[in-house]
């Protein structure tokens, strides 16, 4: 089984007009989706990244330059990540077809490049 990183990008726009009942429906869809993946042994972990935290580090003229990342004000923020298990890229994509996040934002799917111990 290969491992995949899924980066959900938060949607643009505001949540101000979303009613509590609608919020509940959105969360329920996620819960149903993640629960199914967990039951199938597909979901390794999911984590939320702290908002407005973190830095981008660079070495400039020998000195460390730590800047607040471009992610802070970016239009599409990566709010966190999931790590999924699947047979291949196509299989991993198939797991995301009904991910509720696609109704409000986008997903970036990347395969984790495992070190092959044989070589």
């Amino acid at each position: 089984m290969r491992r995949f990183l899924v980066l959900p990008r938060d949607p643009e726009g505001s949540w101000d007009d979303v009613s509590p009942a609608e919020m509940q429906r959105i969360v329920e869809r996620y819960v149903a989706w993640t629960r199914r993946l967990a039951e199938e042994g597909r979901l390794e972990v999911g984590e939320k990244l702290r908002d407005g935290s973190g830095r981008v580090l660079r070495r400039r003229d020998g000195a460390l330059d730590a800047a607040d990342g471009p992610f802070v004000e970016a239009k599409e923020v990566v709010g966190g990540f999931w790590i999924l298990r699947a047979e291949g890229l196509e299989a991993a994509q198939a797991l995301l077809v009904d991910c509720p996040h696609l109704e409000i934002g986008s997903l970036e799917l990347r395969e984790i490049d495992e070190m092959d111990e044989a070589t």
Binding site: P8, V18, A21, M23, Q24, V27, L37, L43, G80
Partner: protein
């Protein structure tokens, strides 16, 4: 905070709406001076955080407590930010200079600290939440606000409905509702209104306004002639919940409130039988009475009995009594229609509305035959407020049909179909038309 593996925690039904109204009520009242708007904003922030973290990290074991903690902390942080900003400004000001917007903001700053204590305490017990919810309800029903604003504000902050849902219930555009809410909150803010303590004086002054707002909320849900869904059970449920809230308070527990609660229960009990599977309204006489909610009927009779203690006789008493006669009857035929007519007479004395006269005419037709019914309709038929009201020709149609005048009946039902405000009502009236014509 990882309090559960992804997707592990269950999500209780109605968590967000319930949390919205409860946490707003608690914060608006006890984060002192925070005011409804700040409390609402903090709750909204907490909800958005939940939306962004629960899908990834799972639903926390105690979702309500989580939302409450996050909202309360957010209110504290806002208070802290304001305090620091003011401290900076004060330092920047020349001695004796005045800091912009001092009074109101400094009170908010102080409250940041009480807010901090608040979220460490955890979610208060249900009795205290109920007390906060009552205070918020009293705030929403400020007599200085137009009635419809009171009801909309109650729905928004007191019941946790969204702007689009309120707009749908009132057949208005969401922007119109949003503007009305902004104006209402601005007025409350100008009056320095925080949720008032439910003192005897406040309750005596506002209970009547609250009851009228709840009545409008209930009838808006129950009659809901307009719109796609003919019955908005949710609005009825909220009206009953808030009436019970008022009853729980010693000063709110008056004969008029009991009568109102009885009315909500006795009408609400019929809701399960009021629509067919296609959403077409079913009139009382054709309803399957086995579907009526027995527990709600029992509660309604209990409230009605207690409402007769004392001398008060309000329109709620009379309307509840009419509903009780229906509820006690095993069928439409076995209903005590004469009793209903006399209750309508008393109701007309008290509130001479043409629509009450029309309902009375229906009862007269039942009790004394179609010709007597038609005479009773004639007494109100020319009232301007009934012009274009589909139930006027529908009532005439029923009475003409019973009197054997098919032509008149068909014409009346045709008019009723044209005036019907919703597709569901049109469906029902078309079926009556077909029945009469066939």
């Amino acid at each position: 905070v990882t309090e559960g593996a992804p997707g592990v925690g269950p999500l209780v039904e109605d968590l967000f709406r319930r949390s919205a109204r409860e946490i707003t009520a608690v914060l608006a009242r006890r984060a002192g001076g925070a005011g409804v708007e700040e409390a609402e904003e903090a709750v909204q922030e907490a909800f958005i955080r939940a939306l962004r973290s629960w899908p990834l990290q799972g639903v926390p074991r105690n979702p309500r407590g989580w939302l409450y903690r996050v909202a309360a902390r957010r209110l504290t942080d806002e208070g802290e930010k304001g305090r620091r900003r003011r401290a900076l400004l004060a330092r920047a000001q020349p001695r004796g200079g005045r800091c912009d917007g001092g009074g109101q903001q400094s009170s908010r700053g102080r409250n940041g600290r009480s807010g901090e204590l608040l979220w460490q305490e955890g979610l208060p017990d249900p009795a205290r939440i109920a007390d906060d919810e009552l205070a918020l309800l009293l705030l929403c029903c400020d007599p200085a606000l137009p009635r419809v604003s009171q009801v909309m504000l109650t729905l928004k902050v007191g019941c946790g409905f969204g702007v689009t849902e309120i707009a749908a219930a009132f057949l208005q555009r969401p922007t119109t509702v949003a503007q009305r809410l902004v104006r209402a909150k601005r007025l409350l803010r100008r009056r320095g209104a925080r949720p008032p303590e439910p003192t005897p004086a406040v309750l005596v002054a506002r209970a009547g306004v609250v009851r009228e707002a709840l009545y409008l909320l209930f009838t808006g849900g129950h009659a809901a002639a307009e719109g796609e869904r003919a019955v908005r059970g949710e609005l009825c449920g909220e009206a009953l919940r808030l009436a019970r809230l008022l009853l729980r308070h010693p000063r709110g527990d008056t004969p008029a409130t009991r009568a109102l609660a009885a009315l909500f229960c006795l009408h609400g009990a019929r809701l399960p039988a009021r629509l067919d599977p296609e959403g077409t309204p079913i009139p009382l006489e054709h309803q399957d009475r086995g579907l009526w909610d027995r527990a709600l009927l029992a509660e309604g009779f209990h409230h009605l009995q207690r409402s007769s203690e004392g001398d008060a006789l309000t329109r709620y008493h009379l309307e509840a009594a009419i509903a009780a006669v229906h509820a006690a009857a095993p069928s439409a035929e076995e209903t005590d229609w004469e009793e209903i007519v006399s209750l309508y007479d008393a109701l007309l004395d008290r509130c001479p509305a043409p629509v009450v006269g029309l309902n009375r005419a229906v009862a007269v037709g039942r009790a004394r035959g179609p010709e007597a019914g038609l005479n009773a309709v004639a007494a109100v038929a020319e009232e301007p407020s009934l012009a274009g009201y589909h139930l006027l020709p529908a009532t005439l149609g029923t009475l003409h049909a019973e009197a054997g005048r098919r032509g008149e009946a068909v014409a009346c039902f045709q008019a009723a179909v044209e005036q019907a405000p919703s597709e569901a009502d049109r469906r029902y009236l078309r079926s009556r038309l077909a029945h009469v014509a066939g």
